[in-house]
Point group: C2
Chain length 224, copies 2
């Protein structure tokens, strides 16, 4: 594998594990057993690495969130959206952590992220429309649907941060993918009151699959 590619992969790993803030370019090069100079040959600076990872993320989520134009959406579709979006979130989870700091220091990222948010909100909105067409949820006025979409976005993008704060006494709180996916439970909670009778049971059963075992604020870090 090319060094450049290795740097990206290694950076992503370290960022996800320890948080971008706690990973220096020296750490990255040390982990790869290359010199700092080498790293800076391939990337002008740390921001460029982050930006490129963000672009990967953007592309991935954009791909996940496409909606078919020729048919309404089903419960299976919805599940697919949730699963894949949370997968993406997991793979690039460092982004949604120190996000504010990242945006503060990179104008490109700031701009792109803003547009990305807009596209995602639109996509969520279209998914709600599709689900209404498919008879899964009630149709709602545009205004309400948009506000709902925004709430979905807030829950999805901040679920990880909540887990980290609500959990454990250790400095390095390790979140599992399973826990992250309990965010799906919270998103489906938002939909509960809008479910049509015909699909209510099915969606509630799906929701149960993501239910946390314990109330979240009582969760302790998994023993090592």
């Amino acid at each position: 594998m090319k060094t450049r590619e290795k740097i990206l992969l290694c950076s992503l790993d370290l960022f996800n594990e320890r948080g971008e803030r706690n990973v220096t370019t020296n750490h990255i090069s040390a982990e790869l057993a290359i010199s700092p100079g080498n790293l800076y040959y391939h990337f002008r600076n740390k921001s460029d690495i982050i930006y490129e990872l963000f672009q990967q993320y953007e592309q991935l989520v954009g791909y996940y969130l496409t909606t078919p134009e020729d048919r309404p959406l089903t419960v299976a579709d919805m599940r697919g959206y949730l699963e894949s979006v949370f997968d993406g979130l997991w793979s690039y989870r460092f982004l949604h952590r120190d996000l504010e700091h990242l945006l503060e220091n990179d104008a490109r990222l700031r701009q792109d992220y803003r547009e990305f948010t807009g596209r995602c909100l639109d996509a969520i909105n279209r998914i709600f429309e599709g689900l209404a067409e498919g008879g899964v949820i009630q149709s709602q006025p545009e205004e309400l649907r948009q506000a709902m979409s925004l709430n979905v976005w807030l829950v999805v993008t901040n679920w990880m941060a909540f887990l980290k704060t609500a959990q454990g006494n250790n400095r390095q709180v390790e979140i599992t993918k399973r826990q992250l996916k309990q965010g799906i439970y919270q998103v489906l909670t938002l939909e509960v009151p809008y479910l049509m009778p015909a699909y209510r049971g099915e969606v509630l059963a799906l929701r149960e699959q993501y239910r946390p075992e314990l109330p979240l604020t009582m969760m302790e870090p998994a023993p090592a």
Copy 2:
């Protein structure tokens, strides 16, 4: 005013304005025109300042969220809770920004914040119960109510962060209190489907008062 108190007030101001991360102890002492040594005479370290500010915040919100035991809740109560909680959020908004980093570096804060979260979730839950008793919203099974409360918490605590990311092209995005309070609109959106007919109109009218003028992702920073 005592120097100690001045340090707390000044720190809070600077933290809120520029973000905790961008404010050093040297900045604080410079702003106050005192020496760093002086600051460190009053506080052992930066974390101690933050921790004391957090305790103020905790107390404030704890006070805001108390529920009367002798009567059900009204729409006016609900409005009061939302207004005051968002006021508190505004006054200590730096806390909910770099929260993860703050918790990572202070075990006391980590522990306290976790308990604080638990208490807040309980309080939100009790408020929902009170509103159901008061006939404002439908009564819901415990499990659903808890998940709803958690969603409310997620929206409330992350609304500020969303505004900062969704808005403007400037490094230092200035959020107004008015914009922050649009978070109330989002919280009330969560309640819409549960409103009882008798109060539906009233709550929807209340909600309208917090409606953003523009779709949020199109919002530009206010011209200087």
